[in-house]
């Protein structure tokens, strides 16, 4: 698959450690790509560079071989953008807003737009200024998806959405992927990235720290099991003698989480049989855990 979004050694220094630093990543056509990071880690700054709103201090970014900064108008022809900051032009009702957006994109057939409005259950006749945060976010999503763009740049697209609407959004993103669109989204909600993205890049304080692919959550990953022990001595004994890697533990509650490689499941059970336990629980491995651990360990997983 050809590369469609390319960011090369991009730096934008706002001073005081804020900004993005030597940022490089590449997204292939038809891929869903996630950008995860805490608040202020540089997600929005990256998006703004891709839209050509900001000029990098050094390095460059391009979409489909076109430099984002030099020809943002050509980029915009192919891109649907959900900004991180949601405020609409002062044009009265939601219907007016969508009508004007359609004119900008030269959309005549509004049937797909209607479909999106139905999907998100929006009352577009309401004045934009009276809309709730979630309602505004849904309007922004319709505006971004209505032109059926090849590339979607979504800056925290699920902000303010209720769980049902978040699922609708995930469904919509998967649908776009199916039709061949490339999705580049940022979020700090790991679930929606896990459900949609082929690759996820973690960023922290403006630096790329790691890129993981979907395989992280795949079949061959080591499993995590949490074991609660009956008493202190059993807990200490297991902790002292086990050959399994211990991911985390809690002395007070006498439980710990062990890492179990796929092919050692049987020996794990055999070892456990010698201990008095309160419970054993499978802990699904998530991007969130991965990320938290990364931040806690100061950059080493």
């Amino acid at each position: 698959m050809p590369e469609i979004i390319k960011i090369e050694h991009m730096t934008k220094d706002y001073g005081g450690g804020r900004g993005i630093f030597d940022f490089s990543l590449s997204v292939n056509e038809g891929e869903a790509y996630g950008l995860v990071g805490t608040n202020g880690s540089g997600k929005t700054t990256t998006m703004r560079h891709l839209m050509g709103f900001l000029a990098p201090d050094s390095g460059s970014c391009e979409i489909g071989g076109i430099n984002c900064r030099q020809h943002p108008d050509q980029i915009a022809k192919r891109v649907g953008y959900v900004p991180g900051q949601i405020d609409f032009p002062d044009v009265g009702s939601g219907t007016n807003f969508l009508k004007i957006q359609a004119q900008y994109f030269g959309i005549r057939d509004m049937s797909y737009t209607e479909k999106l409005i139905d999907l998100f259950k929006i009352d577009t006749s309401a004045p934009l200024k009276r809309m709730s945060k979630g309602m505004k976010q849904k309007m922004a999503l319709v505006a971004a998806f209505m032109a059926k763009p090849d590339i979607l740049l979504l800056d925290e697209p699920s902000t303010g959405l209720d769980p049902v609407m978040r699922d609708a959004l995930i469904g919509l993103i998967l649908e776009q992927k199916e039709r061949g669109a490339t999705v580049f989204m940022s979020s700090h909600i790991f679930k929606e990235l896990e459900d949609t993205c082929d690759q996820v890049t973690f960023i922290h304080n403006g630096k790329v720290i790691n890129t993981v692919s979907r395989a992280l959550c795949g079949e061959n990953m080591p499993r995590l099991y949490r074991i609660g022990f009956a008493d202190e001595s059993q807990y200490r004994a297991f902790k002292a003698h086990t050959s399994f890697q211990i991911d985390s533990f809690n002395d007070e509650y006498k439980h710990l989480t062990a890492v179990v490689p796929v092919n050692e499941m049987n020996s794990f059970v055999r070892v456990l049989a010698d201990y008095n336990m309160r419970y054993v629980r499978f802990v699904p491995y998530s991007l969130e855990m991965y990320y938290k651990k990364y931040i806690e360990n100061g950059g080493n997983v």
Partner: protein, 255 residues
Amino acid sequence: MFSLPLFRQSVKSNWVLWTAITSVMSVLCVQFAALEMTQPLLFVIFYGMMTTILPSIYVLVTANKLIANQVDRGSMAYVLSTPIKRSAVNFTQSVFLIGSLAAMFGIETLLHLAVNAAKPITIATALGNSELPLQGNLTAKMIVQVNLSAFVVCIAIAAVCFMFSDIFNSAKYSIGLSGTFVGVNILANMLAMFGSLGVGGLDKFRYLTICSFYDHQSVLFSQNDWIIKMIYPAAIAAAAFMIGSAVFRKKDLPL
């Protein structure tokens, strides 16, 4: 270069203030031109102050709303995420600003022409000074020329406000500097007018205001000074629009 949807959007978000200011200006114009009591103040109050103050208020608010406010609030993202160049956004918004100002002066001028045709007055009456060596009535040509002179000065004020709107990402700086600029010009113009009415020393203030290039006296005296004086505000306007556009095309936008 020109974006019709953006123009429509600007009309939708700015027609209220335009209608209000245009109505006030039109009503005042008709009143000063038609009522015998106020006719002597037509050129002192109405053409002396109102034709610069009222459009300035409109321009101050609107120029800020057209660019800086939308960048500050983030709504400009919806315009710029469509296939429109920044230069086209800038051009379209400046066309709207000048166009709406032209419509405002157009309506006021037509109304004055209508009133003047129905109730002609002498130039001396209109100036409120019967001792001036002026013969004849206020002609339609004079009315058009006076308004043209005021219009060009207002374009210059609009261009400077629009330049600040282009330069700053923060609406408070844009409106703050535009407001200072407009305020100083209007205030100096009023003080200079008191000076010309006989208060000693105040006439020096005319060097502090762009409104001095608007010269209704020379029109009424059938001189050509007002035409030459239009060159300066026109040059200021051109320079301001060019600087604004250059900055807006290149700057970082927090969208």
